[in-house]
């Protein structure tokens, strides 16, 4: 079972992301975190096959969360997708630079997110 973590403080946004990822091939379990802190509480105990995060969030921002993921042995190789309203070239470079595998600017195309997630999930399996 593939496990995907979604970190996003806006409830509406969260449900849109979840809706985009409906019907991915194979069993998928989606875990939602409403804030960076909530994600921080979950991460040490569990592993995920993919993480999707927003950048602008109240307690820690998405870049800080990304940095945390990369610093943790457990999650360093977990594919990371950033979905954010910050669309300037600079912000994208920042996101990718910190180790994200993909950066989507909001409003995002649900199909694009789906495809990216599928690719990243498959890419990982191939590694085995």
């Amino acid at each position: 079972m593939k496990r995907i973590l979604i970190v996003e403080d806006s409830a509406t946004m969260r449900s849109l992301i979840v809706a985009s990822l409906e019907n991915l091939a194979g069993p998928v379990k989606i875990v939602e975190a409403k804030s960076g802190f909530e994600a921080l509480r979950l991460l040490p105990r569990e592993t995920f096959d993919l993480v999707v995060t927003d950048i602008n969030m109240p307690d820690i921002n998405g870049l800080e969360l990304a940095s945390f993921l990369k610093s943790s042995e457990k999650h360093a190789s977990t594919p990371l997708v950033i979905v954010s309203t910050e669309g300037a070239e600079r912000d994208i470079q920042k996101g990718l630079g910190i180790g994200a595998d993909a950066y989507l600017v909001k409003p995002f195309d649900p199909e694009a997110l789906r495809q990216i997630v599928l690719d990243l999930l498959a890419g990982r399996a191939q590694e085995r």
Binding site: M1, K29, P44, R45, T47, E127, R128
Partner: protein, 174 residues
């Protein structure tokens, strides 16, 4: 495999079992080539050994007082209280159709994650250790009429059945 003693030592603390199991196994295979491994905790049930994937295990605790629940199937031992949470304890022997037995000091409750946030406790006779198997040592269980086993893992000279937890726990019906 890591020895039961090492694990026992840690079992006393309320440590995160997954971490311990991982650390213990890492110590054993330090230097091995980087190849995807499956980590399984081996438990004893009647005369046989069974394997449970480590990532589904939340923790392993000693058998505390289990409160019986009236009029429930016999594979449900009852419930235990674990830090404020109330968990059902499933008698894995009965669930797998093995003869029932009395619990002993070695008996343990393996607390696992069900799917969609469920949790449950599995009562086993004892916990033998952690097995770090290579992917190629896992084979499908063909020709066996197991309802709860989908794969087997090679261990020593024989094979150990890997419990398919979702099947074992089913929808709780029966």
């Amino acid at each position: 495999m890591t020895s039961p003693e090492v694990i026992e030592e840690h079992a006393g603390k309320a440590a995160d079992w997954v971490g311990v199991a991982r650390e213990a196994s890492h110590a054993f295979v330090a230097g091995a080539a980087v190849e995807e491994r499956r980590e399984l905790v081996i438990v004893q049930l009647a005369a046989g050994e069974y394997a449970i994937p480590v990532e589904r295990i939340r923790e392993i605790v000693r058998l505390a007082k289990v409160t019986r629940i009236p009029r429930t199937p016999d594979w449900l031992v009852g419930v235990v209280a674990l830090r404020g949470e109330i968990l059902e304890v499933v008698d894995l022997r009965r669930r797998l159709g093995l003869p029932a037995t009395e619990a002993t000091r070695a008996s343990r409750i393996v607390v696992i994650h069900g799917d969609d946030d469920g949790v449950a406790g599995l009562l086993v006779d004892s916990v033998k250790g952690v097995l770090r198997a290579r992917e190629r040592d896992v084979v499908p269980a063909q020709g066996h009429d197991f309802r709860s086993v989908v794969e087997l893992v090679r261990s020593g000279m024989g094979f150990v059945s890997i419990l398919d937890l979702d099947r074992v726990l089913g929808a709780g019906d029966e």
